[in-house]
């Protein structure tokens, strides 16, 4: 199932307005070949790159030498473990990941508050979430959605919360790309759940859109 860049941007805007998102959903593409594209100015964690991409336009292409957290090297498939297996992880030999663009993405990541997760679970007909508070964005989000082609919710991990700038109330939802493409039809079916549908759903947590 394909979609043009323009249609993907429309879906991104539609779901952002529907949920009242503070951060834009972004794509992560996992590649077995090196990719052209802007590299990080300096090595950092994968989760920090994801957070940065959500708050800015453009893209980031990361190779193994750009990652400062070895957990992401394992979970994204850049290298196999040496001493003990760490799950979940992508087992294909990854050479690069592209963070940001929805076009060509394997997984789409959302930063949500609990109410938004509730709405997404209704749209998706339920979410079976597995999380342990470890290797969250790289493993619990990207690797699970990539490997199992199903949504997953992660409540993040100490590294992502303390080092990558995620707020205490942030939760990350990962969708396989094809599931993301199904969202317009699901939003139309559940138009009553749109954030401003009843003039209610006031955000009292301070986690909704600014202004």
């Amino acid at each position: 199932m394909g979609a043009t860049v323009e249609r993907l941007r429309e879906i991104q805007q539609e779901i952002s307005a529907y949920l009242g998102l503070k951060h834009r959903p972004i794509g992560v593409a996992v590649s077995s070949e090196r990719l052209n594209g802007p590299r990080p100015a300096q090595p950092t964690t994968f989760c920090a790159m994801v957070k940065a991409a959500m708050d800015a336009q453009g893209e980031i292409v990361a190779q193994i030498e750009d990652l400062t957290c070895p957990n992401a090297e394992l979970c994204l498939g850049f290298r196999p473990p040496t001493y003990v297996d760490v799950e979940p992880r992508i087992r294909s030999r990854t050479k690069a990941v592209r963070i940001g663009p929805l076009e060509g993405a394997d997984v789409v990541l959302f930063v949500l508050n609990p109410r938004q997760v509730m709405v997404m679970s209704i749209l998706l007909g339920g979410i079976r979430a597995e999380f342990r508070g470890e290797t969250a964005v790289c493993g619990e989000a990207v690797a699970v959605a990539y490997n199992e082609q199903r949504p997953n919710v992660t409540f993040l991990c100490p590294g992502s919360r303390d080092l990558a700038g995620f707020d205490d109330c942030d939760v990350v939802l990962a969708l396989p790309f094809n599931t993301f493409l199904e969202l317009p039809a699901r939003m139309e079916r559940y138009s009553s759940l749109r954030r401003d549908a009843h003039g209610a759903g006031q955000d009292r947590s301070g986690t909704g859109p600014q202004g």
Binding site: C69, P70, E73, T82, Y83, V86, E134, T135, P158
Partner: protein, 82 residues
């Protein structure tokens, strides 16, 4: 296995990433080059994370081994000062 003299021990049981690496790094900084640090962890990602991270920092991993059902020991020789 050749016995290695341990110069400092660091018990990080109950600690999780990224603080397993952060505290290991801090301990190594207080040591002299060539000295050996023994780190005990019970957080599985740390068994992979800490050796990789300290190697990237120029230290030598002498051993990574399971010592009980839950615990692992990491022996790390501090690298040359840069």
């Amino acid at each position: 296995m050749v016995q290695v003299r341990i110069d400092q021990e660091l018990d990080l049981r109950g600690e999780v990433c990224p603080y397993t690496f952060v505290k290991t790094k801090l301990a190594l900084e207080s040591m002299d080059s060539g000295q050996v640090l023994r780190v005990v962890v019970d957080h599985l990602p740390a068994v992979e994370n800490v050796p990789r991270s300290v190697t990237n920092e120029g230290h030598e991993v002498l051993r990574v081994g399971r010592i009980s059902e839950t615990d692992w020991e990491l022996l790390i020789r501090k690298g040359e000062q840069t």
